[in-house]
């Protein structure tokens, strides 16, 4: 954005004071995250879009194929959400009681009690989606060519005995109800943490795939199903990824520094001092309230 271009790079640390970080602090916190959570790594992105105030190889952070076993939208039907934060009189962030229940839910699907009308709604939606998929194969609008048209004779002439045929493992989706219609597809997300120069905070981008359908890219509406409904389309919108190009879901950073400041204060009141190194680990912790069903890795428990 223009505002971002005109904002000077933050040089002095504003971490304690305002909850904001400099690019150097972003790098330090990123190195710390990568060290403690090996599923995260630095990425360079498109070199023509690289930011000069960040090292070439450390433009942003990425973790791939994070499982998302169920839809946030469904979780909220069971009413496990509560409002915990009310940041300075503004509309509060909504969080969910998700602690520990990811594992339990695998063994105990009945925990996800949906009332019948909701089940019907989802079932109807699944059916109509399936119908779409069957009739149009890959493209919703039916504009794409039929891939079978590309079949060629002669390509199978070379028999190759050295190819291992791997049967796709039929992994039972843990969240299925008795009826086959309401199988919840497992999705995977790629998460990206970008440095936002204007807000001087991390900026989370995410993009999702349907794991059960050959890693097909989710539609925007589908991705919004995995965002806490109070944040969907408000704090979470489609935004162009500054290092890659295409648009992805992004958690708007306007409130990050305030929340971070709050965390620092709470820690101080408890006699602890938060180090700027832990910034991203804390950040991921509070962002979890926006995307409660996406199980990304954070290995450290921060006690506040």
């Amino acid at each position: 954005s223009v505002a971002e271009q005109l904002t000077p790079v933050l040089k002095e640390s504003k971490f304690k004071e305002c909850g904001r970080i400099t690019p150097e602090e972003f790098i330090a916190a990123g190195d710390h995250l990568v060290h403690h959570c090996p599923t995260w790594s630095w990425a360079a992105g498109d070199e023509t879009k690289a930011k000069s105030y960040l090292p070439k190889d450390k433009q942003f952070l990425i973790t791939k194929n994070v499982p998302c076993l169920r839809r946030c939208k469904q979780m909220e039907f069971s009413g496990v959400e509560r409002i915990v934060e009310d940041v300075e009189g503004e509309e509060g962030w909504v969080t969910h009681d998700t602690e520990g229940d990811e594992d339990e839910s695998n063994e105990n699907p009945s925990e996800m009690t949906l009332d019948n009308s909701k089940i019907d709604e989802i079932r109807a939606k699944n059916e109509s989606q399936n119908a779409d998929n069957n009739s149009n194969d890959e493209d919703d609008e039916g504009e794409a060519m039929d891939m079978e048209d590309f079949e060629e004779s002669g390509m199978l002439d070379n028999v190759d005995p050295s190819v291992a045929i791997i049967q796709p493992v039929e992994k039972k989706n843990p969240i299925t109800s008795e009826s086959d219609d309401s199988i919840v597809h497992t999705r995977t997300y790629d998460l990206h943490i970008v440095y936002n120069k204007y807000y001087q905070t991390p900026h989370l981008f995410l993009i999702g795939y349907d794991k059960d359908e050959n890693r097909k890219l989710l539609t925007v509406e589908e991705m919004f199903e995995d965002v806490s409904q109070d944040n969907a389309k408000k704090t979470v919108t489609m935004e162009q990824h500054p290092h890659l190009g295409p648009s992805m879901l992004a958690v708007h950073p306007c409130r990050h520094s305030d929340l971070m400041k709050k965390f620092i204060q709470i820690a101080e009141e408890g006699g602890n001092e938060l180090s700027v190194h832990s910034y991203l680990i804390i950040f991921l912790k509070f962002v979890q309230s926006v995307i409660p069903t996406i199980n990304y890795d954070y290995s450290q428990n921060i006690t506040i």
Binding site: A43, E138, D139, S162, I207, L244
Partner: protein, 324 residues
């Protein structure tokens, strides 16, 4: 042994293309290449860290001039052939493209380039057509490999942790993971203490008869970073063995041990395997006799291209719906 005479088999690589790759391809096509149909060198990568499905990943960094894969990932060297029309995409001679790329691989092996940069053993072709009106991308990957030689597996694979002492594995893992130029540990050798030996230091392309002549094959492990999580190794081993047979005629008729280096999510080498290959009955074909294989199959196992619809993240019209 019951497993005797079991043909040694590899799991084919599978392409996974990120949306930002198509975004960059479209940008390059519109602003730079325009109607140019010349082939272009691009990069992909594979990883043996917590890997699934033997995947080769492509994203927008494929077009970077200085390609650096993520940590514990390795270069794949691609030739992008982006066609201007769906007809020329369809009519491209797939067998000829494969042969051309395969012969390039042989040249790189014979002139020693693959010893200097072993990741050149993982080439690919990406044949594509971009329908930029509808943001549909048609594409087909090939990972070239010579069908011959076919050879046999002498025993079931062993686990690395069952064969080597813990301390040797820990030392190896430390050196391996922190190797400055990751490309050199894509394919390499190990001695009986799991010390890394580089291909370029042990094999020469100007004295084939002398290659690995003095080496005790019982104490030598041909090693590679394996993106497979299955009992079979992934495709890249195929070209490695092909190169070894081409450059080290001493190996023909012998048995070799291969370490498939695999890391789990905690970066330990617990999933790593050791294969024993019987190279007795191998036949080395001349360049023009070689039959090439490698076009990717779709999920139904058919030899067909794939298509990605990127309207949702690229079409300004669709995107504006979500901003309103």
């Amino acid at each position: 042994m019951s497993d005797k005479n079991k043909v040694f088999q590899y799991v084919q690589l599978k392409s996974v293309v990120s949306p930002d790759f198509w975004y960059k391809l479209a940008e390059t096509k519109l602003n730079i290449e325009k109607l140019n149909e010349n082939s272009k060198n691009i990069f992909g990568s594979f990883t043996n860290f917590n890997s699934q499905n033997c995947v080769v990943n492509l994203d927008c960094t494929a077009f970077n001039s200085h390609f650096k894969p993520r940590i514990n990932s390795f270069h794949c060297h691609g030739t992008l052939l982006n066609r201007n029309t769906i007809e020329s995409f369809k009519d491209s001679d797939k067998a000829e493209l494969l042969k051309k790329e395969g012969e390039q691989l042989i040249d790189n092996i014979v002139n020693g380039l693959c010893l200097e940069d072993p990741t050149l053993l993982v080439p690919f072709i990406l044949l594509s057509y971009a329908d930029l009106k509808k943001y549909n991308f048609y594409y087909w990957f090939a990972f070239p490999a010579s069908i011959d030689p076919v050879f046999y597996e002498n025993s079931t694979p062993q686990k690395l942790v069952d064969v080597f002492p813990q301390q040797d594995i820990a030392n190896f893992n430390d050196t391996y993971r922190n190797f400055e130029d990751q490309r050199l540990v894509s394919f390499f050798l190990c001695n009986e203490k799991l010390e890394i030996k580089l291909l370029k230091d042990l094999i020469r392309c100007d004295n084939l008869e002398g290659n690995l002549k003095e080496v005790d094959l019982n104490l030598t492990y041909f090693s590679f970073s394996d993106p497979s999580e299955y009992e079979n190794p992934a495709w890249p081993l195929r070209n490695f063995v092909f190169m070894l047979l081409k450059l080290c005629p001493n190996l023909i008729g012998k048995q070799i041990k291969v370490i498939s280096v695999r890391q789990d999510s905690k970066r330990t080498l617990t999933p790593s395997l050791i294969f024993t290959l019987d190279l007795q009955a191998v036949k080395i074909n001349e360049k023009d006799e070689i039959k090439w294989t490698g076009w990717e199959r779709n999920n139904q196992g058919k030899l067909l291209p794939k298509m990605s619809s990127m309207g949702e993240s690229m079409d300004p019209e669709k995107l504006s719906d979500h901003f309103s």
